[in-house]
């Protein structure tokens, strides 16, 4: 899946756009989705999904897989959020939707709990849609340039650069070794799988250390002394049509939120 996302980020229709602008836009929307009412958050989710699927032309299948997989954490924590546990004899002072009793304890699903997960769900979908817009539309190498612009320490960027270069190589090695073990009858049964996995990790560790030596020679031969000089930031202009839509959209959402708050206050 990671490889798929990575290659989409290089091939999507919005790739030529300035990475700084894309990230700025998505982060602004992310902040907005944190500060607004659920109704606005829902609008943000739909609008950002339109940017990713419609404008960047990311296949809907991959988009939904990513969002769905990320939501598993939410699903698994739902019980903890909606179920209240209390001793049987305690007095119920909350609105209960459904209850179970278990020995001396009472388990109940409360209406406030349900409301909480409802609100939470809208918020996570909104913020996920913002972050996945960055993820699908901006290649990692361009993200590095953005991070450089916002003054992330250079050392951190250099480490990230090397990590990104070698991720795919190490993944491939791990995968090939896994396949080789399978082909020789390995990776079956719990004990064997544990042992085989340990072997893969060790072999990968040894290969990583070998790479360290050869890569430092390779870089020194190309004039590496202290720093890894990165390519300078280059940005293409953002088409007027996108600029217009983003500014108008953002302002409208902001105004809507202010209006909602105003009304809320005057009612309350």
């Amino acid at each position: 899946m990671m490889k798929r996302i990575d290659s989409l980020s290089y091939k999507n229709a919005l790739r030529p756009l300035s990475p700084m602008w894309k990230c700025g836009f998505a982060v602004a929307m992310l902040l907005l989705s944190y500060l607004t009412h659920p109704a606005i958050q829902a609008v943000i989710a739909v609008w950002m999904t339109l940017w990713t699927i419609g404008y960047a032309r990311v296949p809907i299948k991959y988009y939904l897989t990513v969002i769905g997989a990320a939501c598993l954490f939410f699903v698994s924590s739902v019980p903890a959020l909606v179920v209240e546990i209390r001793p049987l004899q305690a007095l119920p002072d909350i609105h209960e939707v459904a209850t179970f009793t278990f020995i001396d304890w009472k388990l109940s699903v409360t209406s406030t709990g349900l409301l909480l997960i409802g609100k939470l769900f809208v918020r996570i979908i909104a913020s996920l849609s913002c972050v996945s817009f960055i993820m699908f539309s901006t290649p990692f190498s361009e993200l590095l340039q953005v991070l450089h612009k916002v003054r992330v320490p250079k050392l951190v960027l250099e480490i990230m650069l090397i990590m990104y270069r070698f991720l795919f190589i190490l993944f491939e090695i791990a995968n090939n070794m896994y396949v080789a073990q399978q082909s020789r009858g390995g990776q079956t049964g719990f004990q064997n799988r544990l042992k085989d996995t340990a072997i893969i990790i060790v072999q990968m560790f040894i290969k990583t250390m070998q790479r360290y030596k050869s890569l430092s020679n390779g870089l020194v031969s190309r004039g590496f002394t202290d720093d890894i000089h990165m390519a300078p930031y280059r940005a293409n202009p953002v088409p007027f049509r996108y600029k217009l839509e983003s500014y108008i959209g953002f302002t409208m959402l902001l105004l809507l939120e202010i209006w909602l708050r105003w009304n809320w206050r005057s009612i309350g």
């Binding site: 090939n176 080789a180 009858g185």
Partner: protein
């Protein structure tokens, strides 16, 4: 000619890729022969091998082992991976344990062979492949040619019926290559069906008695070496070259070629030349 392995309209793509690695592939591996599968990097040779041992399953179509479609059940897969041995191109990724002896026993232990038999069989196969003096040398001290032999030993020790070799001679020097080829001939003479994926047309020509040509996930040609290399135009259009010896053979005058089948290795060619000039 009975068929050991067969694919019927098998299609398959890797998760991260848009192109099909196998595209309605129809192909048969004849039993008892030395088959070479030729084609470029990326033509689907390695993917086919992973289908053959059930690591990948077709997205459509069927893989048949001994004329029965694979069901991919746990038990069947276990048996299949003992019957079909796969030697990968890069021995680094296939060799798992620290010494040739330990590594050779890996597959036997997975197959739950009793310990005394493991020792016996491992020692026997190391002896056969001339590796007994290296049995307890750490693998990272071996040369590439030796590593390839160890990888071969680890697969052969399971006594497979079909042996698949992915680019077995890639990057070997000519002497190690010759040793390996001789080894393969000995294995073949014990009744094991051999299949080799290679893009070295010289090797395919001199070694195989059946050739399949793959291109973009399909099998585009099949036949004996003589049949395949007759059609040099078709080969060129696939970006494959003709064996060097055949080119030289064709440069000889018709008269001296008449009635003699084309030589398949350097020494045959030399004796032939000497005969022509005698």
């Amino acid at each position: 000619m009975s068929t050991l392995l067969e694919t019927i309209e098998v299609s398959f793509s890797y998760p991260a890729s848009q192109t099909k690695a196998l595209n309605k592939l129809k192909l048969r591996i004849p039993e008892g022969k030395k088959t070479a599968i030729c084609g470029h990097n990326g033509s689907g040779k390695s993917t086919l091998f992973l289908q053959a041992i059930g690591i990948h399953t077709p997205s459509s179509g069927q893989v048949l082992w001994k004329n029965k479609p694979l069901t991919y059940e746990r038990k069947e897969l276990k048996q299949l991976r003992q019957d079909v041995g796969l030697v990968f191109q890069d021995p680094e990724q296939q060799l798992i344990l620290n010494t040739p002896y330990e590594d050779v026993t890996y597959g036997l232990r997975n197959a739950a062979v009793p310990e005394p038999e493991i020792t016996r069989r491992a020692e026997a196969i190391l002896l056969t492949l001339g590796l007994e003096h290296l049995a307890h040398t750490p693998i990272h001290h071996l040369s590439l040619g030796q590593k390839k032999r160890v990888a071969l030993a680890g697969v052969l020790v399971l006594e497979p019926k079909l042996l698949l070799l992915d680019e077995p001679t890639a990057y070997l020097d000519r002497i190690s290559e010759q040793q390996l080829v001789e080894e393969l001939d000995r294995i073949h003479s014990r009744g094991i069906t051999l299949v080799m994926a290679t893009h070295d047309m010289n090797l395919a020509y001199s070694w195989a008695d059946w050739i399949l040509v793959m291109d973009r996930g399909q099998c585009v040609m099949e036949g004996t070496p003589a049949e395949i290399f007759k059609d040099s135009k078709a080969l060129n259009s696939l970006g494959l070259d003709r064996p060097m010896l055949l080119d030289l053979w064709d440069a000889l005058p018709e008269a001296s070629r008449q009635g003699v089948s084309a030589p398949r290795n350097v020494s045959d060619f030399t004796t032939l030349l000497q005969k022509v000039f005698a």
